[in-house]
């Protein structure tokens, strides 16, 4: 026998939820309290435990669709139970506006339900004072708000029960009042209509996604970056063959056993050394205080593509880290980002950022500054290319470095020296000896 489970109010005063994913499919048998779906409300993503033991007979909403509270969500086939007499009309109950706990009561914008006077009212009940208050309340309602169709509470209840949308009903009562008869007539007319079928994915020419979450945050940060800091970009292509050889030797070294060493590890170390010699790249423009903040530490941000979108966690006090510690910190940061376990503390307080576009096979680009930072370095892919080497053309491993800096803080000279330093370390790691 079929039991229909209708979406409950999962928070306090919610009116709808979005189906994120189904954990079951029709025909599957489920246990009581087995998780059958994940749904997202205005407050949280929650798991839905099955209210019955039985077999799933139908799922009434595709993932990604919004279901109103009280609308059918899933049907169960349960042995020995009586059928639910629901679903046939497919009409959703009238929607309420969400009133989240802690956000205060919603002001009734469309007037109070008009009390219909029923026969003579005893004198003691006329209560003129109360009437005046109600009218005052009505007087302050802005005119722009569309008036709710005129009807009475019992009629509205009837309409809700029958699934009739009162805005679609023409009232025949006094001054356009919608009567019980109007609702009944409308219900018998609409009951025959079929349930609207969500349009198929095929043939859809465009779709819209609400701007929210990480996407919204990224957009705001990038707009802030583009319109507050005048940015200059510079590029340098260097022969990193010697760095790659160094990397191979380190990987074989027992001290680095089990550690993930990548070109990024060396670039990060090179950047930290170069920042020591070119501190203007590690500053912040404090507009409010009209001051330039020079950081004497480096919180090294690493742009990370995560399942949730772009995040830029940073390694605190990276300036003092040995190459090994840096490799550990980078691995940990990547691991946390992948598992979406990056903490808010890791996302705040960065002073300089590295973005590794090489992993996508890209050579160069003009990276956008992370708001509040003076510099960002994009690391390109390492490629074998014909390159001048000791007076001859040889196949060498080559990488392009792209740096953007805030021209309010960093002049072309300082920016160029910084980029040249990073390049010279990577093309000849021995040059570090001249810099520290």
């Amino acid at each position: 026998m079929i039991k229909v489970f209708k979406l409950p109010d999962l928070g306090e005063g919610l009116t709808e939820s979005e189906v994120v994913a189904w954990k079951v499919s029709p025909g599957q048998s489920v246990e009581l309290n087995q998780i059958i779906a994940e749904v997202e409300t205005a407050k949280a993503v929650v798991e839905l435990p099955s209210p019955f033991t039985g077999t799933i007979s139908a799922l009434h909403a595709e993932p990604g669709t919004v279901v109103g509270v009280g609308e059918p969500l899933v049907s169960f086939d349960i042995e020995g139970a009586d059928d639910d007499a629901v679903l046939a009309s497919g009409h959703a109950p009238a929607k309420r506006e969400a009133n989240l706990v802690g956000y205060g009561a919603i002001v009734e914008k469309d007037g109070r339900p008009a009390r219909r006077a029923r026969g003579p009212v005893p004198a003691s009940e006329a209560a003129p004072v109360v009437t005046a208050v109600v009218e005052d309340a009505l007087a302050v309602v802005p005119d722009a708000v569309q008036e709710r169709p005129r009807s009475t509470p019992p009629v509205r209840k009837l309409a809700k029960d029958l699934g009739v949308d009162l805005t679609q009903v023409t009232g025949t009562g006094q001054r356009g009042l919608i009567t019980r008869e109007d609702v009944n007539a409308s219900a018998s007319g609409t009951a025959a209509e079929s349930v609207p079928v969500p349009s198929a994915v095929d043939g859809v020419r465009e779709s819209r996604t609400p701007i929210k979450g990480v996407r919204k945050h990224t957009a705001a940060a990038m707009v802030a970056s583009a319109f507050t800091a005048p940015q200059v970009s510079e590029f340098l292509t260097v022969d990193v063959t010697e760095s790659m050889e160094l990397l191979a030797r380190l990987k074989a070294n027992r001290a680095f056993a089990g550690l993930k060493l990548t070109p990024l590890t060396l670039v990060a170390k090179a950047v930290l050394i170069a920042l020591g010699n070119n501190p203007t790249l590690n500053t912040r423009w404090d507009e409010a205080a009209q001051e330039i903040v020079q950081f004497h530490y480096v919180n090294l941000g690493i742009a990370a593509a995560t399942p949730r979108g772009l995040t830029v966690p940073n390694i605190k006090d990276a300036q003092g880290l040995s190459l090994k510690e840096l490799a550990v910190a980078l691995a940990e940061l990547a691991e946390n980002a992948r598992a979406a376990k990056t903490t808010p503390a890791e996302l705040n307080g960065g002073t300089f950022t590295i973005t590794n576009i090489g992993v996508f096979g890209i050579d160069a680009g003009t990276p956008m500054l992370y708001p509040g930072e003076a510099g960002i370095l994009a690391v390109g892919a390492v490629r074998r290319q014909p390159w001048e080497h000791r007076g001859e053309i040889a196949l060498r491993q080559v990488m392009t470095l792209s740096v953007s800096f805030d021209h309010r803080l960093v002049d072309g000279e300082q920016g160029s020296r910084f980029l040249a330093d990073v390049g010279s370390i990577l093309s000849d790691p021995g040059m570090v000896l001249t810099m520290i």
Partner: protein, 393 residues
């Protein structure tokens, strides 16, 4: 995350130091090993003595059962059978350890999360969830189980408990009033005021603070710069900080405090350091403000897991015990679920019941108006009226 020889940024360092928990008393470490603590051990003669196995098994059963009640209630909320539920997941040791230390004539004043304590008090399983379904204004008769119905106003129940404790004093009895509250409540004026009165009158009251680290989305580090237990010291109230995920430490500390009160030694304050592993309520999403790593760290200190390890190390976690506890959990969950889904809906006019003990003319007038209003609904009767009158929680 950084190497050991690195120097953290000053700001970062202070934040880290704050978040680290200072010392607390522990009798079972997270691996389930019994730690000796003479000052607490003396309160556990029954646990450490002859019939200890039975006592431990009882505590284990209680913790597993209340976790099951809690999970069943959470599921019932997701299934639309309850309006709201405040999970206690993770706080089982704090609630069972303290709840099982009480005598029947002691009186509990709790917040809304102490459903495990209500279980210890012997509440009718059908009554625990009545309020959360919105079917009644309160769940049970306080005088049947000597536990007031849950207080929703944060911290207000501490005042009630001190008042009750002063009443015990006037009666010359040796029972104790218990106030259960959370870390967030300690920031409320009511809690400070009740500690003033408790100390001034040396009332037989135990302030039992479950520091579950989160006042909805506010971490406890924002509420205080010292331990919550130390606050009681400012009022001259003896205080102790125990591992709230260690049922034995909680049991021992509660027994000591109750004994002090019964001997005329006045109030005590226990801070049970625990962790709210679930959301604040079913309407909350802790992932919006809480670090996933933190939850993982606390999962490793799970109170039930810890007692299981201890029982296992002593060869007490038998198949028979596991099966008995599982059967009991299933039975209790079934009773709770059935009680909720078969609970009779209240009548619309029931809202006027239990407002005043004696007839009241103003209320009668409202009742009369409302009855006539409902009469408009003709055939739809009480259910329609229920909809119109039903407010939001």
């Amino acid at each position: 995350m950084l190497g050991e020889d690195s120097t953290p940024h000053p700001q970062e360092r202070s934040r880290r130091e704050q978040s680290e928990d200072p010392e607390f008393l522990q009798l079972l470490d997270p691996s389930g090993q019994r730690v000796a603590r003479p000052e607490l051990d003396r309160w556990l003669a029954d646990v450490d003595g002859e019939g200890g196995a039975r006592v431990l098994a009882g505590l284990y059963e209680d913790m597993v059962v209340i976790r099951r009640i809690d999970m069943e209630a959470t599921a019932l909320q997701r299934q639309g059978e309850l309006a709201l539920w405040p999970p206690l997941l993770g706080q089982e040791a704090a609630q069972i350890g303290s709840g099982r230390a009480l005598r029947q004539d002691d009186f509990v004043f709790s917040s809304y999360r102490e459903n495990g304590v209500a279980y210890c008090r012997g509440v009718n399983l059908n009554e625990i969830l009545r309020v959360w379904r919105g079917n009644a204004s309160s769940g049970w008769d306080p005088f049947e189980i000597n536990m007031a119905t849950p207080q929703i106003i944060i911290g207000a129940q501490t005042l009630h408990s001190v008042g009750y404790a002063m009443g015990i004093q006037f009666d010359g009895a040796d029972s104790v009033a218990l106030a259960y509250f959370g870390d967030g409540a300690t920031s409320e004026g009511d809690v400070s005021e009740s500690m003033v009165f408790a100390a001034s009158y040396q009332a037989p009251v135990l302030f039992f603070c479950q520091n579950n680290h989160w006042a909805i989305s506010e971490p406890v580090t924002l509420q205080t710069h010292i331990t919550l237990a130390e606050r009681a010291g400012g009022f001259g109230i003896p205080h102790v900080r125990v591992d709230g995920n260690d049922v034995l430490a909680v049991l021992a500390a509660t027994r000591e405090a109750l004994d002090r009160a019964r001997q005329g030694g006045g109030p005590s304050f226990i801070e049970a350091v625990t962790y709210r592993m679930g959301p604040h309520t079913t309407a909350d999403d802790p992932t919006r403000y809480r670090d996933a790593n933190e939850l993982e760290d606390w999962a490793a200190k799970d109170p039930i897991l810890r007692l299981e390890k201890h029982l296992e190390s002593r060869g007490l976690l038998t198949q028979e015990l596991r099966e008995r506890v599982a059967a009991k959990s299933d039975e209790v969950a079934g009773v709770v679920r059935n009680g909720v889904i078969t609970m009779p809906e209240p009548e619309a006019m029931d809202v006027f019941k239990h407002v005043y003990a004696t007839p009241n003319s103003w209320l009668s007038r409202q009742e009369d108006h409302y009855r006539r209003y409902l009469a408009q609904f003709e055939h739809h009767g009480a259910s329609a009226a229920g909809h119109v009158s039903g407010g939001q929680h």
